[in-house]
């Protein structure tokens, strides 16, 4: 330039949601540095993926997973973010945007991206506590505060949003009723046949679905207690979620005199009636149409970004969108004119017993509508044919069976055959061409790198296979998906991927996993079966039926096998404390069953070694009678909680470490883990219980308790790291439960806490347990939920009745 600095035009964005930030991203990539950008955000969070609120509610994601642009991103791009401040005025004459907290920001161009507001039924009781909508992170938090197992939740509205809310609440253990005004669910996306299958699938998951039912009022004093229907029936409710539609949020635009109808009126380039103000997203109305899905919004963002930076190109011309229901395990897609009319024909495929229904609506040999339920794998292809208005006459007979039939192509070939503009990732609106060019331009070689760079497949993950196929095709052998180690030779999938798919696919048995994930062996091997058994147990507490045949012998027999085929028996000694009655019972059992050795273990317990398999149930029966229960010395489970004598006796003790150890052990006994878990509590920093080499160690101080994690005294010595310091005994228990749960949910099978923490880093563990109070509470809650089903003494189960056949010979032929 010639000596003076030109000031850049100022862009002020109102609304920090998906549409606003997508436009900013498009501007940054089309004309970096063009604007000086300020963003007003009505919500206190950075921009997150609103679509993913459903999995957030269901517990399949946490908030950090769904953030699209974190605070660092704003900073790195020199964007001023005014978070949590509503804009309540635009002074169009002076060109100033006014925030409700007094921030006045001048603009050259303003962008309205205020989204929409959920519609609230104007009926009696709508203002009661516990009656809410489903639109923001705050809404999800409100729901989770109430949605405890057994609570009664009523969802009003059986559309996409309502059913996703119902699904999430159902997974959280709530007792869910869906009330829908129309005779069939999702009537705006589904025909009656598919809606019927959907209703059946949801009912099978324990939800109550009431169609053709109208809500009259919400009943309660301050807090909602019930929902009253038009016919007078009352349905009990601790929580009511209204999901009955959305309205463009055009209030501000209307107030400052911009032309509005249902939404803010925009032209083909997203310009409002004031040429200095653009509008985008769900707040707009274009050509009489308003919007409720992201795909058209991505189009708008590109067009608006170009127009705002002076490169006005072709205008906006909305195309059809595809709607998917994000309820794990239910595959459902609809697009276009799915109802059909006098000028259309149908091709229908129905397989009632497998719950599959597909319907293509054709007009003059072109697809104009799609409905798929139960198997939507080919819908992407059908949708592309529909968007491209392809004449299907030559393959009309086979089109419903998908592209695979047409020349036996697999999913990979199908993606390769798609044109560059074909959309691969529906959630983030990413076309094939963009993925392929990002792979080449940035030398991407892994799925994770593609996800980070393009966002493709980073949301619901249903396009993962297609993205992998593109990686393979673009970089050939350089694409080594084995970068993530596969679980074992029975599958190419990694531990993490298998776990993700167990949850996502609603897979609830080992055979279902093997079938759905195409295991290469008929029934796995000794390495994957125990891992799958644990992953399923962890994913579906109370529901999954443990598979004894997939357990290592020790866990199947509830005793440790010895080199001569006999077993050892180690009863639990809570916090290492015992008494005369227990010791006497042990002494009696040793004599009665001729047990060759009794030993004090390194974990403050007593080990009886050399017990014959057939004697085990009788040994346990005698021990049970004295109150002794299984010590789980044989399991990938909570083992011992070592303690020292602490403040009760020791002259240095600062807290009652023995009582704390017993409380920890009572809370966590019976829990299954990726590997064994050991804990210890010491009464002062002299640390006589060796807390610093335990998976979870506690050291009492004058001020409270130091919590240590990831210690290991085994093969490779590793000192535990400080997680944090807490002051209250209750906190020790809560942090411990949360830590155990995150380890259970995220570590690979056979990875001890020490190795897991070395892999993910202590900072990550802190971010989950220390920095995120709500996340911690939720983890602890899930731990306690699972414990309800885990705390059953396996010894008592096996010794109470007749001896189980696995402990004795089926026949004696001597």
């Amino acid at each position: 330039m010639d000596g003076f600095k030109m000031s850049r035009p100022r862009l002020v964005v109102i609304g920090n949601g998906m549409a606003g930030m997508r436009t900013v991203e498009e501007i940054l990539s089309a004309a970096p540095g063009y604007f000086d950008i300020t963003v007003f955000s009505g919500e206190p969070q950075p921009n997150y993926d609103r679509i993913m609120l459903s999995p957030l509610l269901a517990g399949d994601k946490n908030f950090t997973d769904i953030v699209l642009n974190d605070y660092d991103w704003y900073e790195a791009n020199n964007i001023r973010l005014i978070a949590g401040e509503h804009v309540d005025w635009i002074d169009r004459k002076k060109r100033i945007v006014r925030g409700a907290h007094g921030n006045d920001v001048p603009y050259d161009i303003a962008l309205l991206a205020t989204g929409s507001n959920p519609f609230v039924l104007p009926i009696q009781g709508a203002e009661l506590d516990g009656v809410q909508t489903f639109r923001t992170v705050a809404d999800v938090e409100d729901m989770l505060a109430v949605a405890k197992p057994g609570c009664k939740a009523v969802v009003i509205g059986g559309g996409l949003l309502g059913l996703e809310a119902a699904h999430g609440l159902n997974l959280r253990g709530a007792d869910v009723t869906v009330i829908h005004l129309m005779p069939t669910l999702m009537e705006r996306q589904l025909d009656a046949s598919a809606a019927h299958l959907l209703e059946r699938a949801l009912t099978a998951r324990g939800m109550t679905i009431l169609t053709a039912t109208e809500t009259a009022a919400f009943v309660g004093d301050e807090q909602v207690r019930a929902v009253r229907l038009k016919d007078g029936t009352e349905i009990e409710a601790d929580l009511v979620v209204m999901a009955v539609g959305i309205r463009p949020n055009a209030g501000l635009a209307r107030a400052v005199g911009l032309t509005c109808n249902r939404g803010v009126i925009v032209d083909d380039w997203m310009r409002t009636s004031d040429p200095e103000i653009f509008a985008i997203g769900e707040c707009v109305e274009h050509d009489g149409e308003v919007f409720g899905l992201v795909a058209p919004i991505w189009e708008m963002a590109k067009i608006a970004a170009n127009a705002m930076t002076g490169n006005q190109g072709p205008g906006f011309c909305p195309t059809v969108s595809i709607a998917r229901l994000k309820v794990s395990g239910i595959d459902m897609v609809s697009a276009g004119a799915f109802m059909g009319d006098a000028t259309t024909d149908d091709i229908v495929l129905r397989d009632a017993s497998r719950g599959i229904y597909k319907r293509l609506v054709l007009r003059e040999n072109r697809i104009v509508g799609i409905v798929a339920f139960g198997d939507a794998r080919d819908s992407g292809w059908h949708f592309q044919l529909m968007k491209d208005e392809t004449d299907i006459e030559t393959f009309r007979d086979s089109v419903i069976f998908g592209p695979a039939l047409d020349g036996a192509a697999g999913p990979a070939e199908v993606v390769l055959a798609l044109p560059d503009h074909a959309e691969i990732c529906g959630c983030n609106g990413i076309a094939k061409g963009k993925i392929v060019s990002a792979i080449s331009e940035f030398g991407l070689t892994t799925l994770e790198a593609v996800r980070a760079r393009t966002k493709a497949s980073s949301s619901c993950g249903s396009c993962t296979m297609q993205v992998e196929a593109l990686l393979k095709a673009t970089i050939g052998n350089a694409y080594a998906p084995v970068m993530v180690k596969s679980m074992c030779t029975c599958t190419d999938l990694s531990h993490d991927e298998v776990r993700r798919r167990i949850l996502g696919g609603d897979l609830k048995s080992i055979s279902a996993v093997m079938q759905a994930l195409e295991w290469k062996t008929p029934d796995g091997c000794h390495s994957c079966r125990p891992a799958l058994n644990f992953y399923l147990l962890c994913a579906w507490p109370g529901e999954y039926v443990d598979d004894a045949q997939s357990r290592f012998v020790n866990e199947r027999m509830h005793a440790n096998i010895q080199k001569d085929g006999t077993f050892s028996v180690v009863p639990r000694m809570w916090g290492g404390v015992t008494n005369a009655r227990e010791l006497r019972a042990i002494a009696d059992v040793v004599e009665k069953f001729d047990i060759p050795e009794v030993k004090i273990t390194g974990g403050q317990r007593i080990d009886m070694l050399g017990v014959r398999r057939e004697d085990l149930p009788a040994v346990w029966r005698d021990l049970n009678a004295a109150g002794l229960v299984s010590g789980h010395a044989y399991g990938k489970a909570l083992r011992t909680v070592k303690t020292c004598v602490g403040s009760e006796w020791c002259r240095f003790g600062t807290q009652n470490s023995t009582a704390m150890g017993i409380a920890l052990e009572k809370m966590s006994w019976g829990s299954w883990h990726p590997h064994k878990v050991k804990m210890a509590v010491s009464g002062c920093p002299r640390n006589c219980a060796e807390s610093s080499i335990k998976d979870f160690g506690v050291i009492a101080t004058e001020a409270g308790w130091d919590l240590l994690v990831g210690g290991n005294g085994g093969i490779k010595l590793r000192g535990a790291e400080l997680l944090c310091k807490v002051t209250m005994a209750d906190e020790v228990l809560e942090y411990c439960a949360a830590f155990l749960q995150v380890y259970r949910e995220e570590a690979l099978y056979l990875e001890r806490t020490a190795h897991w923490i070395e892999r993910v880093g202590i900072d990550y563990v802190k971010s989950r347990i220390v920095e995120d109070a709500e996340g911690r509470a939720a983890l602890a809650e899930r731990f306690h939920h699972a414990q309800q089903f885990a705390q059953v003494d396996p010894w008592e189960e096996r010794s109470a009745g007749p001896t189980p056949p696995s402990y004795v010979d089926v026949a004696e032929l001597v």
């Binding site: 796995g524 000794h526 125990p530 199947r556 096998i561 026949a811 032929l813 001597v814």
Partner: protein
């Protein structure tokens, strides 16, 4: 060896259903403990309940495909041949059996191999 076999006597030991799929039960015999395996595809096998490595009880292992993994040090033994997967020679004795009307009849006169 195969040639040494005497005609076995078949004795009813249990119903097929008493053996869990992908599991085993034991029978004590004059030849020592014998493990009766049932695989995921419902095939039944009888092998001596002693691992060729250091004598681990194969009946306590994890059954997968037509093999079992010894619980002591993870050798994988083929139920069809009695050989450890990385060696060719059969090293675990197998016993003949018959299934009749849902019952397992074990041939106890002698093992059919090594």
């Amino acid at each position: 060896m195969d040639g040494m076999m005497v005609d076995p006597v078949f004795v009813d030991i249990a119903a097929v259903d008493e053996i869990p799929a992908r599991g085993a039960r034991t029978v004590s015999t004059a030849h020592g403990p014998v493990a009766i395996f049932r695989t995921g595809d419902n095939a039944i096998f009888a092998l001596r309940d002693r691992c060729p490595h250091r004598g681990g009880p194969l009946s306590q292992g994890i059954v997968h495909g037509h093999g079992v993994t010894c619980p002591l040090h993870n050798w994988v033994i083929s139920l069809e041949t009695g050989s450890a997967s990385d060696e060719d020679a059969p090293c675990v004795a197998r016993f003949p059996l018959r299934i009749e009307a849902g019952r397992i009849l074990l041939g106890i006169a002698g093992p059919i191999a090594a």
